[in-house]
């Protein structure tokens, strides 16, 4: 069986948006920027699990009600 140089991260909360500009806007907020552990790509970012609740509150503050899946 082939082996790959990869690391599996379990139970990581991520935020995903439809357009990269939206993620840029969100990350302009200091709380959201602090909560993001790593931007995974133009439209996705990994969040600190401890900060997830605060992220949801902050999104709601800006009028966003994200889909939770």
């Amino acid at each position: 069986m082939s082996k790959y140089d990869a690391v599996v991260h379990e139970n990581v909360p991520i935020i995903e948006v439809t357009e990269s500009v939206l993620l840029d806007q969100l990350l302009a907020d200091p709380i959201l920027a602090f909560a993001v552990v790593k931007r995974l790509g133009p439209t996705a970012a990994a969040i600190d699990p401890v900060m997830l609740e605060q992220v949801m509150k902050q999104l709601a503050k800006y009028g966003h009600l994200p889909k939770v899946v």
């Binding site: 082939s2 790959y4 140089d5 990869a6 690391v7 599996v8 991260h9 379990e10 139970n11 990581v12 909360p13 991520i14 935020i15 995903e16 948006v17 439809t18 357009e19 939206l22 931007r39 995974l40 790509g41 133009p42 439209t43 996705a44 990994a46 699990p49 997830l52 992220v55 949801m56 999104l59 966003h64 009600l65 994200p66 889909k67 939770v68 899946v69």
Partner: protein, 556 residues
């Protein structure tokens, strides 16, 4: 309660269940099914099992059973096929039968149930209790059970000897009652509150934490108790949590009680079935305030309240109006003397036969029965929509069974009533341009109500109508449960039997689009690669997942 019986889920007599019997006993059992009584052990077992596999032979057998046996089988069927011997005899007594005949045996022994066993209709929990077919009595705590194929062939309803209670002449138009839709809405609200709280935390003693009880009560507006149409529901939080637990909708885990259902559960089966389950769970141990008495001893706390509810089923006309005082007097005639004889011998009054002592005992019994009836009627039975009530008069609380209550508590009217309910259909609601949804509770189906509870915010509830409001939050919350925009629009249109106001439809569409813009995955598996080349190689080799960036894959 039934875990000690190792049965398959369908409750079937098998060769294994007959193994403890001797050859002579099995010959007698096979004779009850029409066997010759001359076979060896295996032959007898085969004959009995063959008989149970033939519905016409079971029907033939049932057709010659006396009324009390038939009533006993009906009671077992209603209890899921398993119950304690003592409970079976107690319910039979409430139905007007005398299962123990002239025996002087105490409440701890049953003498009628052994006859059903000897007649091949029941078996007992053989691991729990030693019982021989020659025994004259069985412990009242022993579980007895019946093969589901026998109860499947019961043609109803059973004969219940009417109670000697006279209905009131006064019409009951002024009586207050709760519609099934009110009950459903409250069940959904309770489940949603528990869902929101993510279960309840337990103390080290295993009781629910006071802070959680308070929060739960606050979410449902029960901080100061609950009153419905002027009738107080005593201990509503305690009763509701007990019922949710007994229905296995709340399950105890490690330091917490977890919810096992979602609000959609109430949409998954006929609501009457769910209410029957809730009423049955309540009867397993009604949470009532038991008034103290040194005269009445009922063996167990639940015995008298349960008996009173079963006596209500024996009312001559369930649709008529009765006063609790009249009902208690009629129930006394049937079960009063027996419940007083249940006291341990050292508490029994030697002078029970004396008239004065009898009169005092009867007075106390009637007071207690009236109190218990009032508490059960104004509490759980009213909340479930089973009874319509009028404020207390000099004759006590006045009650009658609602149509819904008759279907739940009565034995033969369910199918007919369900058909009637299905025939009534009209617009269930009107959606107004200001996003209000006015619901007609007479027309709305449980499925539609469950939809609105999930996708709207309930603001007001009257006798015949309810008002919901569609908000962005409520629509988003509903869509979180898995419904699509198309489903939401279609369900709203179907309920209104008309097109939606244009602005409402447009706004709902824009809310749905907004919701799609941001997705949060609370816990996912991410695979991080060193290089994009490595990532491509893994994907080509069959790795399942979706690209999130140059180096990351979201694994399913």
């Amino acid at each position: 309660m039934i875990t000690s019986i190792k049965l398959d889920s369908q409750l079937r007599f098998t060769a294994e269940t007959f193994r403890p019997f001797s050859e002579v006993e099995l010959r007698n059992l096979s004779k009850t099914w029409g066997g010759s009584g001359t076979w060896r052990k295996t032959g007898c077992i085969k004959y009995i099992l063959d008989s149970l596999a033939q519905p016409e032979r079971i029907r033939e057998r049932l057709s010659i059973l006396p009324e009390m046996d038939m009533a006993a089988l009906w009671i077992l069927r209603e209890q899921g096929g398993v119950m304690r011997a003592g409970d079976l005899e107690w319910i039979l007594r409430c139905y007007g039968y005398n299962p123990s005949g002239g025996t002087t045996l105490g409440y701890n022994r049953c003498v009628y149930v052994p006859q059903l066993i000897q007649n091949g209709l029941l078996l007992w929990d053989q691991e729990d209790y030693f019982f021989s077919l020659n025994s004259r009595s069985i412990s009242s705590h022993t579980l007895v059970w019946i093969d589901g194929r026998i109860t499947d062939e019961l043609m109803g309803p059973p004969t219940i000897v009417p109670l000697n209670a006279h209905p009131l002449q006064a019409p009951a138009d002024a009586a207050a009652y709760r519609r099934p839709s009110h009950v459903l809405m409250d069940c959904l609200a309770i489940t949603r509150a528990l869902q929101q709280m993510q279960g309840l935390r337990l103390t080290q003693q295993g009781t629910v934490r006071v802070a959680d009880v308070r929060q739960f009560a606050k979410l449902l507006g029960w901080e100061k108790g609950a009153t419905y149409a002027g009738f107080t529901f005593p201990n509503i939080v305690e009763v509701v949590l007990a019922i949710w637990t007994r229905c296995h909708w709340l399950v105890k885990g490690d330091g917490e009680v977890k919810l096992t259902i979602t609000p959609e559960y109430f949409n998954s089966k006929p609501f009457e079935e769910i209410v029957s389950l809730m009423m049955g769970s309540y009867l397993a141990r009604p949470r009532v305030t038991y008034p103290h008495s040194d005269i009445i001893y009922t063996g167990e706390e639940a015995t008298l309240p349960v008996g009173l509810v079963y006596c209500m089923r024996a009312l001559p006309e369930m649709a008529r109006t009765y006063a609790t005082s009249h009902f208690a007097a009629a129930a006394y005639q049937r079960i009063g003397d027996y419940t007083m004889r249940l006291r341990p011998y050292y508490q029994q009054r030697p002078g029970l036969a004396e008239k004065d002592a009898d009169a005092e005992a009867k007075k106390q019994w009637l007071t207690i029965a009236d109190t218990l009836c009032t508490e059960m009627l104004t509490g759980w039975m009213y909340w479930l929509g089973l009874v319509a009530l009028q404020q207390e008069s000099s004759e006590g609380l006045i009650f009658r069974f609602t149509e819904f209550g008759q279907r739940i508590m009565g034995y033969g009217v369910r199918a007919k009533a369900a058909k009637k309910a299905a025939e009534t259909a009209g617009p269930a609601w009107v959606v107004q341009p200001n996003f209000d949804v006015i619901v007609y509770l007479d027309n709305v189906t449980p499925e539609q109500l469950a939809f609105l509870e999930t996708h709207g915010e309930r603001r007001q509830m009257e006798m015949h109508t309810a008002r919901y409001v569609l908000t962005r939050e409520s629509i988003h919350h509903g869509m979180d449960t898995g419904t699509s925009l198309k489903d939401v629009i279609a369900a709203l249109r179907a309920g209104a039997s008309a097109a939606l106001p244009q602005n409402v439809e447009r706004e709902i569409r824009s809310w749905a689009e907004l919701r799609e813009r941001i997705t949060v995955h609370p816990a996912c598996r991410i695979i991080a690669f060193e290089t994009s080349r490595e990532r491509d190689r893994a994907l080509q080799a069959g790795l399942q997942g979706r690209l999130l960036g140059d180096l990351y894959v979201l694994a399913p």
